[in-house]
Amino acid sequence: MREKATYALGILGAIVMIWNLHHIFTQMAPESAQGMAGWILFIHVPADFMGDILYTVALVTSILFLVKKDFTYDSISVACIEVGTMFILVNLVTGSIWGKNQWGIWWTWDLRLTTQLMKFLLYLGYLVVRPAIAEATQRATMSAFIAIFAYADVPLVMMAIRLPNVRTQHPSPVIETGGINDVAVPFVVGIIAQLLMALALMLVRLHQENTRREIDSLRRELHAL
């Protein structure tokens, strides 16, 4: 039942995302300066939101693990970070495609782009280091520390386009520049679609992590027999 509900969430998310694309094509006029490339925003920005939301949850659960030593929190952390990193990759790739069209280059070492890449690499580091530690408590503790350390980059990315005296090519957020009214529906629907997908993927990953823990305890039981 729980498994079916998880799959239903994911499929619903995919359907909402396709509906959103249909809505964009039938109800909206392309942005005057960017043409249809401007619509990349509806997948690029929600992907970053999802990454940041999941990383924030991972930060909280990592702290909770260090305080309470409950492995449930560690499972939630790794599930959130793995799915979040996938969304940040979507954000980086779609942003790069938009940049090629609007700036004529795939990448520039702009503060916003660089800090975002750093964020991706820091959390990728978490995912690479984690399986290398065999002992469960040590692995969870080390992972929690890395997750807390990596989160320092999240506010840095947010501030990268808001800091004074910093020149950046990255556009200002539509929410802050007053342009949200024109794009509110596909923007919000884009966030809902990705939220549903993120939740489904996170639950699947969480279930896998719990099963892995069961495997570990069975292995210990086998050794004891």
Binding site: G10, L21, A29, P30, Q34, G35, M36, A37, G38, W39, I40, I43, H44, A47, V83, M86, L89, V90, V93, T94, I97, W98, K100, N101, M197, L201, V204, R205, H207, Q208, T211, R212, E214, I215, L218, R219, E221, L222, L225
Partner: protein, 51 residues
Amino acid sequence: MDVTNLTYLFYAYSAAWIIITIFVLMLVSRGRKIDRELARLKALVEDKERS
């Protein structure tokens, strides 16, 4: 309808779907591997307990 830069929109959405699909396939494959391992270990424990 003005279709300026439609190609880039197509590239971006395709890239996003490809990344999500690869991630889902990785999850499915890992899930199967974990389930197989769990079943194997459960059978081993049962065997050991019986003998």
